[in-house]
C-alpha cells in the first residue's frame, strides 16, 4: 500500500478552540499507582487484587517494537460493564503507563502510544463488573545496530 494523501486531510475536522477548563472535569488520578516502581505494586495499588488472565482482553502491541520511544498499543474487550482499561509495562521504571476510565457510553477500545525502556512483559488490565481481567504479551524492544 502506498501512503495515501488521505492519511491526513488538510484542515481537518478540528476547530482549535481554547476553552476554559471546567473545574469538575478532572477526577482523582491514581497518583500512588503511577509512582509505584514495581509492576506488582502498581497493580496492587491500582486494582487491590491480582487480575485474572482472560482471553477476552485483547492487547494489540508489536512483538518487536521498532523503537521503544513510540510503541503503539490498542486494548479492546467484549466484556460488559467496563469501568477502566490500564497498561502496565513490567520493566519500566514506573510500570503503570496509562489508565483509562470509561463510562456507560464507552466502547471498550482504546489506543495510545507508549515508551518502553527495554524488552518487557506488557499487561493490559480491564476492570469490568467490579473484577479485573488481564492479558499480557512479551514485547522486545529493538537495539540499534550502529555502535556510534
Amino acid at each position: 500500500m502506498k501512503i495515501d494523501r488521505r492519511f491526513f486531510i488538510r484542515k481537518v475536522l478540528a476547530v482549535g478552540v481554547l476553552l476554559a477548563l471546567p473545574r469538575i472535569l478532572f477526577a482523582a488520578r491514581p497518583d500512588k499507582a503511577f509512582a509505584a516502581t514495581d509492576g506488582d505494586e502498581a497493580m496492587a495499588t491500582l486494582f487491590g487484587e491480582t487480575p485474572v488472565a482472560s482471553d477476552r482482553v485483547v492487547l494489540k502491541i508489536p512483538e518487536i517494537a521498532e523503537n521503544g520511544a513510540v510503541v503503539p498499543v490498542t486494548i479492546s474487550t467484549d466484556l460488559e460493564n467496563v469501568e477502566s482499561i490500564s497498561v502496565v509495562v513490567a520493566k519500566n521504571p514506573t510500570p503503570l503507563a496509562a489508565s483509562f476510565a470509561l463510562g456507560p457510553r464507552s466502547v471498550a477500545n482504546v489506543s495510545v502510544r507508549i515508551k518502553m525502556g527495554e524488552s518487557s512483559q506488557v499487561l493490559a488490565v480491564v476492570k469490568a463488573g467490579g473484577k479485573h481481567y488481564s492479558t499480557s504479551k512479551d514485547v522486545k524492544v529493538t537495539i540499534g545496530g550502529c555502535g556510534g
Binding site: F7, P62, E63, E66
Partner: protein, 278 residues
C-alpha cells in the same frame, strides 16, 4: 528469536563495491534492477516506503503512526512560517515557481550559474537572504518545518531530478555524490553502499537495512528516535557519525552532491514525505 542467517555471496558484484561510470541513466536502471532482483516479491513503488517495504512487523507499527502522524505538527507550523511575510512584505511564495507549492520533485537541481547543486533547504535560506532576512539553522526547527510543509504540498508528485547532458559540471557533481556513496569512511570503515547495497534487507541488530532507491522520498522525516522532524542532511550527519567518521556540514558541497546522486536514484518514485521513520 534467532533470525535465519542468509548467506550473501559476493554476487552483488561491481554495484556493491565500486561505482561503474556509465552515466546517470544507466546507473539508475542498474540500481533499480538490482533491488528488484534482490526483492522479487516487493512491488517496485514500495521501495519508497524504505524498510517498511519488506519488514512486516515494522510496517504495521509505521502504519499505526501514519494514522495520526506526529509530523503533522511540523507541517502545520511550517505552513504558518511559510505564509508569514518577511519584513519587506515579500514572502517565500515570491521566491519559487508555482508559489513554492508542489515543487519539491525538482529538487535538488544543478545551478549552472554557480555550478553547484541547490537543495530545497538551501533555496529556502537563499530566499530569506534575498529578502534581507537572516538564514535559519539547517539542522532543526523552523527551516525543517518549512521544508516539511513544502514537501507535503508536493506529495504524490514524481521525482524528476535532472543531470543535464550538456553540462559536464553537473555530471561531475553527480559523480562526486556517487563516489561519496561508495567510499568507505570512518573508523568502522563503512561506505553508504556497504550497508544499503551490499547487505540490504538484512538486519543490523534488529534494524533491517533500507534500499538506496526510495531512500529520499519521505524527507524531511519524523524520526521517532529523536522525536522530531529532520532533514536529509541531518540524517547524513548521523550516518557519518555512526560509522565514526567526521560528519560534513549540513548543506556542504559533499552532502549536496550526495543528495543529488541519491535523489536521482529515486527518479520516477512519488514523493511521500514527510513520513515517520524509526
Amino acid at each position: 528469536m534467532i533470525k535465519v542467517f542468509v548467506i550473501i555471496l559476493v554476487a552483488t558484484g561491481l554495484l556493491a563495491t565500486q561505482p561503474v561510470s556509465a552515466g546517470p541513466e544507466r546507473d539508475l536502471q542498474a540500481m533499480q534492477d538490482f533491488y528488484q532482483k534482490r526483492f522479487p516479491n516487493v512491488a517496485p513503488e514500495e521501495f519508497a516506503n524504505g524498510l517498511y517495504a519488506f519488514d512486516e512487523g515494522a510496517r504495521e507499527q509505521w502504519l499505526e503512526l501514519e494514522d495520526f502522524p506526529p509530523y503533522e505538527i511540523a507541517v502545520e507550523e511550517g505552513e504558518g512560517y511559510f505564509n508569514t511575510p518577511f519584513a519587506n512584505g515579500n514572502s517565500y511564495a515570491d521566491c519559487f515557481e508555482n508559489n513554492g507549492l508542489s515543487i519539491k520533485q525538482n529538487y535538488p537541481y544543478f545551478d549552472s550559474d554557480t555550478s553547484k547543486v541547490v537543495t530545497l533547504e538551501l533555496a529556502i535560506n537563499q530566499c530569506r537572504e534575498e529578502n534581507g532576512e537572516q538564514p535559519l539553522p539547517y539542522l532543526r526547527g523552523e527551516l525543517t518545518a518549512i521544508s516539511a510543509y513544502m514537501a507535503y504540498t508536493s506529495r504524490g508528485n514524481t521525482i524528476n531530478v535532472q543531470v543535464p547532458n550538456d553540462n559536464p559540471k553537473a555530471l561531475a557533481a553527480y559523480e562526486a555524490g556517487k563516489q561519496f556513496y561508495y567510499s568507505r569512511r570512518g573508523q568502522l570503515n563503512f561506505a553508504c553502499s556497504s550497508c544499503h547495497v551490499q547487505v540490504v534487507g538484512l538486519s543490523l541488530r534488529a534494524d533491517p537495512i533500507s534500499t538506496t532507491v526510495g531512500q529520499v522520498t519521505h524527507f524531511p522525516a519524523y524520526r521517532t528516535v529523536w522525536g522530531e522532524i529532520v532533514t536529509l542532511h541531518r540524517r547524513f550527519v548521523e550516518c557519518n557519525a555512526q560509522v565514526r567518521a567526521r560528519p560534513f556540514e549540513s548543506q556542504s558541497d559533499e552532502y549536496r552532491n550526495l543528495e543529488y546522486f541519491l535523489t536521482y536514484m529515486s527518479n520516477g518514485f512519488e514523493l511521500n514525505g514527510p513520513s515517520s521513520r524509526r
